[in-house]
């Protein structure tokens, strides 16, 4: 790391921090924020007290006495909400992964490079056509990513109505864009040693990409798929707020009925699911990175 004198008193770190603080102050003024609005509204204190009181005793059964006839037991409802959450997330990732792999390959410089060993854009000798195709593809990928999954859901709901496919597509479209972007970056940043070796023995470009570049990026890509699956679980839980039968749907209903102990059960279930996935993925990562 080289430090250069930049004329900012205190050095560049201080300069960066000062600039960030300045932007923060502008944002604060623009929003008209006041610390006083952090104080809960009159009814809010009571809600907060009741809500946090439920944290230590999450519900294992319906909190209210009058349960409509035919309602499944609470734990069963919780499990089915959890299962829907997993299913929507899994379906979205299963759809987004092939699309993201394809787009990611096509958007990476190592795919288009005439000399595939050079990952960097600058050094790669490419035809103008390849450059244009890659640039267009990157714009397309950025556009896929730029619209939030819930906004996709809102559009699909307006066009097609409520259906599992609506929810899955809403998650899958931005996720394929994210997969594509991250995969292409990982492919271009992976070590090029095996690609060089393959090129040295005269392998074809496709062979070099598939057996040289790709395997070097694969551990990172696999780890990223896990992380994205975790994000998909969260996003799928939120889809419930729009009427899909995932955790968010029941969480919102319970909260609006002031059944805060039930809300905590849903929150803990989501937390447990994410923690489980985290433990599982880090156990896997230890094995394939080592």
């Amino acid at each position: 790391m080289r430090e250069r004198w930049t004329g900012v008193p205190g050095g560049r770190r201080t300069g960066v921090l000062a600039a960030l603080a300045l932007v923060g102050i502008v944002a604060w003024v623009q929003l008209g924020l006041a610390p006083s609005s952090l104080v809960p509204r009159p009814g809010g204190v009571q809600i907060a007290r009741n809500f946090f009181a439920g944290a230590l005793s999450p519900a294992l059964d319906y909190q209210a006495g009058d349960v409509p006839a035919g309602a499944p037991p609470f734990l069963l409802r919780l499990l089915s909400a959890l299962w829907s959450t997993i299913l929507y997330a899994a379906a979205a990732v299963a759809l987004a992964l092939p699309a993201g792999l394809l787009l990611g390959f096509l958007a990476s410089s190592s795919w288009w490079a005439v000399d595939p060993v050079c990952g960097s854009r600058r050094r790669a000798r490419r035809s103008a056509l390849a450059g244009t195709a890659q640039a267009l593809l990157r714009v397309f990928i950025a556009a896929l990513r730029s619209v939030h999954e819930l906004l996709w859901a809102v559009v699909f709901l307006a066009a097609m109505g409520l259906s599992p496919v609506t929810g899955v597509l809403a998650l899958a479209i931005p996720y394929s864009g994210t997969f594509a972007k991250v995969f292409s970056e990982m492919l271009d940043e992976a070590p090029t040693d095996s690609a060089r070796a393959l090129r040295g023995v005269g392998a074809a470009p496709a062979t070099i990409f598939l057996w040289g570049n790709l395997p070097r990026a694969l551990p990172d890509m696999a780890a990223y798929v896990f992380y994205r699956f975790e994000c998909a679980i969260r996003a799928s839980a939120v889809l419930g707020f729009f009427g899909f039968p995932t955790i968010g749907y029941f969480l919102r209903a319970s909260f609006e009925d002031t059944q805060y102990r039930e809300v905590w059960s849903y929150l803990y279930a989501l937390l447990a699911l994410v923690l489980l996935l985290e433990v599982w993925s880090s156990a896997l990562r230890r094995r394939f990175v080592a």
């Binding site: 990732v93 730029s146 939030h148 906004l151 097609m160 599992p164 896997l284 094995r287």
Partner: protein, 307 residues
């Protein structure tokens, strides 16, 4: 003498294998295949005549900007409509979305620094960066410090486990409808993520400068504040800008809950079934996310080049 074929077979059978990995792979493949099947079955249902009619009505009629529906297409009418929409609905929401995410990411970044330092295992030992931390000298203090660091790391994971949208929903009920609910929701979630990434950064720092200053007499606090933080700063900034972009993405939708960001106008247009306006606002949302993406990429390129 072993033949070439035998040698290959021997290497093959001696390759590293893990049943845990295989089982996980099979489990995920099954889950993925099942989910695919489920989606395909659902898609067949979606192709019914009724639904298709809805889709075509949406695309042909609802999605077309209102002034163009009867009078046919003209650039002038479209421009006037866009200008009207921008002034009356989009501009304010877009600005609020940006400012909310700026404040949120600044709070998250500041909160992540102590989380990152407290969670780092390299600092959570009785004598950081000295040889006296070998296995036979692990006493009560070692255990306590390690446990504390573990708890901090678990706290980071727990903070990020609850989606921003749910956090904002809960905070709105308590704080009432103001920007703080969105800011705190985004800040909590991102502080968890940045804290986790920051911990990894601190743990992966080059130990030599830390050890050198430790030997020169710096204590734990001085090491953390004056060595670890400055060394980790560029990478922190990298993550900070990477999360800023996601923050803007999330801030666009939090408005749906009733906070004054772009999502609030989206929700209003949706409730009134003005789908042309809704689509326009969603496109504006996409545009400001692209803008944030650009800012974030420029900043990250600058950091990479300068450090």
């Amino acid at each position: 003498m072993t033949s070439r074929k035998d040698e290959i077979a021997r290497l093959h059978s001696a390759r590293p294998r893990s049943y845990f990995m295989r089982t996980s792979l099979v489990a995920f493949a099954l889950l993925g295949a099942g989910a695919w099947l489920w989606t395909v079955v659902g898609a067949v249902d979606l192709l019914g005549a009724h639904r298709l009619a809805n889709v075509s009505r949406f695309l042909v009629h609802d999605a077309a900007p209102y002034p163009l529906r009867e009078s046919g297409f003209s650039w002038q009418a479209l421009r006037a409509w866009i200008a009207m929409m921008w002034e009356t609905q989009a501009a304010e929401g877009a600005a609020a979305t940006l400012w909310i995410s700026v404040i949120a990411i600044l709070i998250a970044g500041s909160a992540a620094l102590p989380l990152a330092l407290a969670g780092a295992r390299v600092l959570a030992v009785p004598d950081p960066f000295l040889a006296s931390n070998a296995g036979d000298q692990r006493g009560l203090e070692w255990t306590l410090r390690r446990t504390f660091a573990l708890l901090v790391r678990q706290l980071s994971v727990a903070m990020r486990a609850i989606p921003e949208y749910v956090l904002a929903f809960l905070l709105l009920a308590i704080l009432g409808s103001n920007a703080w609910a969105a800011i705190l929701a985004l800040a909590l979630h991102n502080a968890g993520i940045l804290g986790r990434l920051g911990t990894e950064t601190v743990e992966n720092l080059d130990a030599r400068p830390l050890r050198a200053l430790r030997l020169a007499g710096a204590d734990r606090g001085a090491l953390a504040l004056w060595v670890a933080l400055p060394l980790a700063f560029p990478r922190f900034l990298l993550y900070f800008f990477y999360r800023f972009e996601t923050c803007v993405r999330e801030a666009t939708v939090l408005g749906i809950l009733g906070i004054a960001s772009l999502g609030a106008s989206v929700q209003e247009a949706r409730a009134r079934q003005r789908y042309d306006e809704m689509l326009f606002l969603i496109l504006v949302g996409g545009a400001i996310v692209l803008l944030a993406d650009l800012v974030s990429q420029l900043a990250r390129t600058w950091i990479r080049r300068e450090t």
